[in-house]
């Protein structure tokens, strides 16, 4: 049970980091669906930075920078130019996949994956009772309190929600919703960058093409599940993280691997249906 919890936490961490910022962008009224791409591209850049500077800090920083730039591209198109978020988001996801391979081929001359013994893994820390875990998990826990604090206690958190609910009210009060959205997306980008760095330089120290493997999407699902509420998003994150961990755990009870691996996806659908079920009668209303 304890191991299952630890696995859940590890598997939730990238979703968690992504969903924290993602919830904020959602609060400002922009659902960022390019998270999968942002995570992948920042995984790559985390490895790149790590390799060139042989320092995990440089890796994490370049991962965050990549996430930031990627999200700013999204913001430029969707917030500033008001292009359709689905079109831009989907395209950026696909672009990130191809771009990571192109870059890997250009820099490392391989296309499938890259590793090098000189790279430095993000250190683990060790606590009594709890044991070893990545520094980034500790950071995520601290970040959670910061996000919680900012979201519920500060002026900034209040304005984020106002931007999503009635942007005119906010601009009438002299605050630009556009700049708030840019800020939220920037924070989101940095956080996704952390998630990407976690995948490629903490879980292991290598980049494998396509290694984000749907985690960005699960984070988006958690954000939609939370519907702008930070705590509900986190509930979603742990729900989906636990489902992923269970997908592994169940195999040791002899479940067919494919069926066990479907679990998180089925759970997302069930969770969404339960949370949003409107009943047939209401739905009939025009």
């Amino acid at each position: 049970m304890f191991d299952f919890l630890r696995a859940t936490i590890r598997m939730s961490t990238p979703l968690f980091l992504t969903a924290l910022g993602g919830t904020w962008t959602r609060q400002t009224g922009v659902l960022n669906i390019s998270q999968e791409g942002a995570m992948l591209i920042s995984s790559f850049f985390a490895v790149l930075g790590n390799y060139f500077f042989q320092s995990w800090i440089a890796g994490v920083l370049s991962g965050m920078a990549a996430g930031l730039i990627f999200n700013m591209l999204f913001a430029l198109l969707c917030v500033f130019l008001r292009a359709n978020i689905w079109v831009v988001g989907m395209t950026l996801n696909i672009l990130a996949d191809s771009l990571s391979i192109l870059l890997m081929k250009s820099v490392f001359h391989v296309k499938g994956g890259f590793r090098d013994p000189r790279m430095v893994r993000i250190p683990d820390i060790s606590l009594p009772y709890i044991g070893n875990f990545s520094l980034l998990i500790l950071l995520a826990a601290i970040l959670f309190f910061i996000f919680w604090f900012v979201d519920f206690k500060t002026v900034f958190g209040m304005r984020l929600k106002a931007a999503g609910e009635n942007e005119e009210a906010l601009s009438a009060a002299g605050i630009s919703p556009v700049s708030l959205r840019f800020k939220a997306l920037a924070i989101n980008g940095i956080m996704v960058g952390l998630a990407g760095a976690f995948l490629s330089t903490s879980y292991l120290v290598a980049f494998v093409s396509g290694m984000s493997a749907g985690r960005g999407w699960l984070a988006v699902a958690a954000v939609i599940f939370g519907d702008g509420n930070l705590l509900w998003s986190i509930v979603g994150v742990f729900l989906f993280g636990a489902a992923q961990a269970a997908g592994i755990e169940l195999q040791s009870f002899g479940f067919s691997s494919h069926l066990a691996l479907m679990l998180p996806y089925i759970l997302v659908i069930i969770a969404l249906v339960f949370k949003n079920w409107k009943g047939v009668k209401l739905a009939k209303k025009a």
Binding site: T154, A162, A169, L170, A172, G174, K285
Partner: protein, 512 residues
């Protein structure tokens, strides 16, 4: 005491001069009203003052000091505040958060100081007798109170000059009285108030000075003591007031066409906003629904057109039960509908003019061949026909509808719906935003439909329009029809009073 100077203000939208070389001095500590017809430029003036529009030319001064106002924030800096026609509130947040949004009290510059905000709001509320619970969530409040929240926002920002753009349009009479006493309270406290309203009685009741605008120009400024409503009206229109064009009702047997029986309809928040409404529209008559905006008219029109679910009651059209029919079936039975919100409902701004013109005809010959294929030639011809007949100015029928000017968008919707030769026309705010020439054109069209024996239900906030066009006038108040009056019995005064105080005469004249 500072007074506000507006000096030679001009604001153009494209080729339109919405405000034209307008100058005015507003003395401090007074209530200064702006009056004028729809589109006279009143809102544009105050929006320029508040920094929502940047003037094409002109200056603002307070005590001979030139103001640089680029954004509402700049205006607030000079103590200028505005209560918008549409409230700028965040519904899910409580009152105090709405009030302080953008200028939040903080501890250590970061943490939102809930306690401080609540106290500040409570204090202000008590000081001006506004009587508001700072903790109530805004969406749970009635409009009158929501408006006070808007006012609190200004007070909180220490506004000295308060602008009210049509604040009474959404209020009940009791609430209007409340607002006026608040305004008087402000004046006593030395604040300057700029007040815009269409109802001249209201204007006369609350103002110290009244300025008349017409077509963006300054026409006259009168002290309250020298103003009468007749004089103001003729100054506003620039000619003797429009005489109703309605010819006598032909005395023939009236056949009911649209029958609404005990309709109940819920609003977006789930509250019943149309309650138990019964009304009949006959062939060959125009029934006007008068009422202050927000009394359930929008929901009623949506219910009749099929865009909103009818909770209880029955809708008959030509003896057919249409209560739960989809819009298409209603259209087939002869309904045409000119919605209140032309841009959000009446048009698809990103689609071509042609596509917009076709809506409602798409399944009819000759636009449909073999029941399935679109006949592009006749669609194009139809669009061109509408453009010509209704004088829609556009470069081409392929242009995006959103690129048309506001007036032309109106015409497009109007043209499309009228061209259906409907048996029943539901029209909401037929001339809102339409210029003088357009107004009489539209009125003529409505009347000729009536002559052709069609049934027309007209919803309008413009009392004069209602009075001049309707055979019968139904007055709506809080989701109910409080009276149905034949035109002969409907005086401006009576209808106005019914609109405001529905319950006062309910029952007496509510039968038809």
């Amino acid at each position: 005491m500072p007074s506000l100077w507006i000096s030679r203000l001009t604001k153009t939208f494209g080729t339109l001069r919405a405000v034209d070389d307008f100058s005015l001095e507003i003395a401090s500590g007074t209530v200064h009203s702006l009056v004028g017809e729809n589109g006279a430029g009143k809102s544009t003036v105050v929006k320029c003052v508040y920094g929502l529009y940047s003037p094409t030319a002109g200056k603002f001064k307070i005590d001979n000091k030139i103001l640089t106002i680029k954004t509402p924030r700049d205006a607030m800096k000079y103590g200028i505040g505005m209560v918008h026609q549409h409230f700028m509130l965040v519904p899910s947040l409580p009152v105090y958060k709405n009030v302080v949004l953008g200028d939040e009290p903080t501890t250590r510059g970061l943490i939102f100081n809930h306690h401080g905000a609540i106290e500040a709001v409570r204090h202000l509320s008590a000081q001006y007798g506004l009587n508001i619970d700072p903790l109530a969530p805004v969406h749970s409040l009635p409009v009158g109170i929501q408006q006070r929240v808007e006012i609190l926002k200004l007070l909180y920002r220490k506004a000295e000059i308060l602008i009210f753009d049509e604040p009474t349009a959404v209020l009940s009479p009791r609430e209007i009285e409340g607002l006026f006493s608040i305004i008087r309270e402000f004046r006593k406290a030395g604040k300057t108030i700029i007040f815009i309203a269409h109802n001249l009685n209201e204007v006369l009741a609350v103002s110290d000075v009244i300025t008349v605008m017409r077509k963006g120009k300054h026409i006259a400024t009168l002290p309250r003591s020298e103003a009468t409503s007749e004089e103001l009206a003729s100054l506003m229109v620039g000619r003797s007031v429009h005489i109703p064009v309605l010819e006598e009702t032909p005395s023939r047997e009236l056949k009911p066409f649209l029958e609404m029986t005990r309709l109940t309809v819920s609003g977006d928040r789930g509250k019943d906003v149309v309650k138990n409404l019964t009304l009949t529209v006959h062939r060959g008559e125009i029934v006007g629904i008068a009422g202050i905006t927000g009394n359930g008219q929008s929901e009623l029109e949506e219910a009749i057109s099929g865009l909103r679910f009818v909770k209880e009651g029955q809708l008959l059209m030509g003896k057919r039960d249409i209560t739960h029919l989809p819009p298409l079936k209603r259209r087939k039975l002869g309904l045409a509908y000119i919605p209140e919100d032309r841009i959000k409902t009446g048009l698809a701004p990103l689609a071509s003019l042609k596509d917009n013109a076709l809506l409602g005809y798409q399944y009819k010959p000759p636009f449909l061949k073999r029941n399935f294929f679109q006949n592009f030639r006749s669609i194009r011809e139809f669009a061109l026909h509408l453009m010509e007949r209704y004088n829609i100015m556009a470069a081409s029928e392929n242009i995006q509808a959103g690129t048309l000017s506001g007036g032309n968008m109106q015409r497009l919707v109007m043209a499309r719906e009228l061209e259906q030769q409907p048996d029943f026309l539901l029209v909401s705010q037929p001339t809102r935003g339409v210029d003088i020439g357009g107004i009489s054109f539209i009125h003529d069209r409505l009347l000729s439909l009536r002559r052709a024996g069609k049934a027309i239900l007209m919803i309008s906030a413009d009392l004069d329009e209602i009075l001049s066009l309707s055979d019968r006038i139904a007055v709506m108040n809080r989701g109910e029809i409080v009276a149905v009056l034949p035109r002969k019995e409907a005086s401006r005064n009576l209808v106005g009073r019914l609109m405001l105080e529905g319950s006062f005469v309910r029952g007496k004249e509510a039968s038809s």
